[in-house]
């Protein structure tokens, strides 16, 4: 992580030396001399980390941002900087490096750096930090992390290290930081082999790799095939490098995924679209082999080029089908991202309301849970959010008015691609292990029998 540290060190050292020098050069700057003259006292270049200003986004409109990092441009002079900004209206995934010209220096806020006490943690912090916490508390997906771990998480994942990747047919802008090995961390772009997911820094390296790579699908067993859609189960222990590559790749698009521990204890379910070039990954979800908290899903991702096509909901439905086959209820590991929560709410709404529409007579939450493999907590929260559970005359009642249900179903969005259970050929991981265990036990017991 050499490059990040360099920036930080420079950041720490620079202000004092540049502070004095900045003022004279500010007026003489090449970019906006007239503006500079007016706001010279406000906009001191280079901008400090933490500055709030308006920035021109890809829609060509100004949006409020906060400066997270800065670095010298490779091509410009010693005082030319690029700024890594966070759009405060949006999720961190849209954070990016922007040039000075995109920033409207007239709108620089001058904030006094007061120490403010945070009521939750009673930690002294600057108003900037406090505002950041408040902002992120409002954002979806961060609610379940406490303030301290959130800060820690944000600290080291502050800046995206890889800006773009090439994966098969697509060149994709990344969303988040991913802890690639230090040798790779300073590259603007990484090239991934779309089948074995090895990553390289130059296109030629990838092309050379493709000439020898004979893998045309994820390494692992195909457990589902319907039309061109296939699902592969990959054991993290048997295919360690692939599992790690997949995690590096997925982290680029998942904020709260952690790569702290190894992939040994996970299974990866990789969803693919197949054609004559091979089975191309469109998304995946990971699952612990043994979950204490009945999680039936750890991380879930649809790659950006394939989003909004129903693959996400397919993955969710698939995870529940596996739970049904195991005979257990399940729930996704928290925290869910904003997009993740949306997909899950949509899925839960669709499944539960479809049942309520057709069901005659009374029903208990437990029954719904047994039918769908959805955890009772999730069922309750879904029904409560949709206001379909009322407390009346001393008992709880479920509202199943068809018109109401239809409204909700429409708002929940289209269903995803359907899972055809008849095309699922799979034994739960524990049964696979138990099978070998039983045979081993038999092996211990069998010899004496045979001697008779």
């Amino acid at each position: 992580m050499g490059s990040l540290k360099e920036v930080k060190a420079e950041d720490g050292a620079a202000p004092s030396s540049n502070g004095a020098a900045a003022a004279p050069t500010a007026t003489a700057g090449p970019d906006n001399p007239t503006r500079r003259g007016r706001s010279a006292s406000a906009a001191v270049l280079p901008l400090e980390v933490g500055t709030r200003v308006m920035c021109r986004w890809r829609d060509q409109k100004p949006h409020p941002v906060k400066v997270i990092e800065r670095r010298k441009t490779s091509s410009g002079g010693p005082n030319d900087y690029e700024y890594y900004v966070h759009y405060t209206e949006f999720n961190r995934r849209l954070d990016e490096w922007v040039k000075l010209e995109q920033l409207d220096l007239d709108t620089v806020e001058t904030d006094v750096d007061e120490k403010v006490e945070d009521k939750v943690t009673s930690l002294k912090m600057t108003r900037h930090q406090k505002r950041k916490i408040d902002e992120t508390h409002v954002e979806h997906g961060h609610e379940e992390l406490d303030a301290a771990s959130l800060r820690e998480h944000e600290e080291f994942t502050k800046v995206k290290n890889i800006a773009k990747i090439e994966l098969g047919r697509y060149e994709i802008d990344t969303w988040y930081f991913s802890p690639f090995p230090p040798e790779y961390s300073d590259s603007p772009k990484l090239y991934f082999c779309e089948f074995c997911l090895n990553f390289m820094k130059r296109k030629e390296q990838l092309q050379r790799h493709m000439r020898k790579c004979d893998l045309k699908h994820p390494p692992g067993d195909e457990i589902y095939r319907s039309g061109t859609l296939s699902m592969f189960e990959v054991d993290g222990k048997k295919n360690k490098v692939y599992g790690q590559n997949l995690c590096y790749l997925a982290k680029l698009f998942l904020d709260h995924k952690t790569l702290y521990y190894d992939v040994d204890l996970f299974l990866f379910y990789v969803l693919c679209e197949c054609d004559d070039r091979g089975c191309h990954m469109v998304g995946y979800f990971s699952k612990e082999k043994h979950s204490e908290e009945s999680y039936n899903l750890a991380c879930i991702l649809t790659l950006p080029p394939y989003q909004r096509k129903g693959y996400g909901k397919f993955l969710i439905a698939f995870s529940y089908e596996l739970s049904k086959k195991e005979g257990k209820v399940g729930t996704p590991e928290r925290p869910l991202s904003d997009l993740g929560l949306l997909s899950y709410r949509g899925y839960w709404t669709r499944v539960l309301l479809d049942i309520l529409k057709k069901h005659k007579g009374n029903i208990s939450i437990k029954e719904l849970s047994d039918m769908t493999a959805i955890k009772p907590d999730d069922i309750l929260s879904t029904l409560q959010t949709l206001d379909l559970i009322q407390y009346r005359k001393g008992q709880h009642v479920i509202c199943a008015d068809p018109k109401v249900l239809d409204r909700h179903l429409k708002a929940a969005g289209r269903g995803g691609l359907e899972v055809d259970v008849s095309k699922l050929i799979w034994t739960p991981y524990k049964e696979q292990v138990l099978c070998s265990l039983n045979l081993q036990v038999a092996a211990v017991a069998a010899p004496p029998l045979l001697k008779i």
Partner: protein
């Protein structure tokens, strides 16, 4: 009633909840009060309004409102990826990691390597990039093996990892690649220098993971601490590798053999039972024949007796072990002395006994004891074959020489083959 229930009791998930199909039912019962009514009126609005946007319960943004970063297509894709994939009709089985299977070169040249190679080749193509890549890969693997043999492999990353492999050993091992020694030497030196800079293997698979207690957030994929599961011997055996696969194969073969043996066993036992049934039927027929003949002779045909005997004779389960039969009825004597007397007496006795047995609900002493003066019917016995006995070395003891004219007592022996194939000589009854 409803006004009292502002605070609902916690919901019991096992309790069946009534499902109300019409929202109007909510409206009718509730008097306007604070929270319940606003919810009900909202529901009512939902049912009647067309505009879903006012639905306050679905306040989350739709996915269309959440912007995401962009993507483009790669122009060279069609060229780089060949159309050589043919999908099999059956689902694909994983073959396991490439590293363990074959000769796949896992290493890919990075920027440094490429730059060095360009300089080294200097437009002369001394060595191709594929060859260079293969060499680096092989050097890595050889060094790893050497370190394994030396026992210096650490499970997690601790001290810097030094190169052990020497140029000569490398040269020897890589003879099959037919690379000139000078070239190999240059590559080896480059590789060794790089290794010294990196302080760890350059092939990612061979790099040990960071230790569990490493707190640097940029280091990833730590091994998990072993879960505190009870350590049993079985756990240690519970490996999922080639060895256990072979063991399982062996187990399968053993189980197949066991199955075949047991099947043969079943057949044998079935045949034995069949044989037994035949013998029993034969005995029954014999007994029936002899008994009836005897009774007619003795003119002591008791209807009840006859009925009883028939009844007894027809009962299936009353197999008497031959030993028990003889022990239970010591009246069976080997030789006849006073048939007539004995017969009638015995017949009476046996009848009486039989009647007693009948009363007892005779299952145990089912078989009517045969009163043939010549030969008792002993079930499941076979007469002794003197020739066979002689062959086995069992001979009738020679008659003792006559002494003082007393009548030599002849040895009366009636043996039979009893249970388990044993030769049994019954005691002669002194009373007879």
């Amino acid at each position: 009633m409803s006004r009292l229930s502002f605070r609902p009791r916690p919901l019991d998930i096992h309790k069946k909840l009534p499902v109300v199909k019409s929202v109007k039912e909510f409206e009718d019962d509730e008097a306007p009060s604070t929270t319940p009514s606003t919810r009900n009126s909202m529901l009512h609005r939902l049912a009647t309004e067309n505009d879903t946007e006012t639905n306050q319960t679905l306040s989350k943004k739709s996915s269309h409102e959440i912007p995401t970063p962009q993507f483009n297509t790669v122009e060279t894709y069609e060229r780089d990826y060949s159309r050589t994939f043919i999908q099999t009709t059956s689902y694909i089985r994983g073959r396991g990691a490439r590293a363990e299977i074959g000769e796949f070169v896992e290493y890919d040249l990075d920027d440094e390597d490429e730059d060095w190679l360009e300089e080294f080749n200097n437009e002369r193509k001394i060595i191709s990039s594929e060859k260079f890549e293969t060499l680096l890969f092989k050097l890595e693997v050889l060094d790893h093996k050497a370190r394994e043999r030396a026992g210096v492999i650490t499970p997690t990353f601790g001290a810097p990892i030094r190169v052990i492999l020497h140029l000569d050993s490398a040269a020897e091992a890589l003879q099959s690649l037919s690379v000139r020694f000078a070239i190999l030497q240059s590559v080896y030196n480059y590789w060794k220098t790089k290794r010294e800079r990196w302080q760890k293997p350059i092939l990612r698979r061979l790099q040990p993971p960071p230790p569990v207690n490493d707190t640097n957030p940029y280091n990833v994929f730590r091994p998990r601490e072993k879960a505190h599961r009870l350590h049993t011997r079985r756990m240690q055996r519970r490996e999922n590798n080639v060895q256990s696969f072979e063991k399982l194969r062996h187990v399968r073969r053993s189980l197949d053999q066991a199955k075949r043996v047991v099947e043969a066993l079943i057949k044998r036992e079935e045949k034995k039972r069949l044989l037994m049934e035949c013998e029993v039927n034969l005995q029954r027929v014999q007994m029936k024949y002899k008994h009836e003949a005897q009774l007619i002779e003795d003119r002591m045909v008791f209807p009840s007796l006859q009925r009883a005997s028939c009844k007894l004779a027809s009962s299936d389960d009353d197999y008497m072990d031959s030993d028990d039969t003889t022990n239970g009825h010591p009246y069976a004597r080997p030789a006849s002395a006073h048939p007539k007397y004995a017969d009638s007496k015995l017949a009476m006795v046996s009848t009486g006994q039989m009647k007693r047995e009948l009363k007892q609900g005779s299952a145990s002493n089912g078989w009517l004891q045969k009163r043939d003066p010549d030969e008792p019917i002993l079930l499941f016995t076979r007469p002794l074959d003197p020739d066979k006995l002689a062959a086995a070395g069992i001979m009738q003891p020679p008659c003792p020489p006559a002494e003082n004219g007393s009548v030599a007592s002849t040895y009366r022996f009636n043996g039979r083959i009893g249970r388990g194939g044993r030769i049994i000589f019954d005691r002669c009854n002194p009373l007879l």
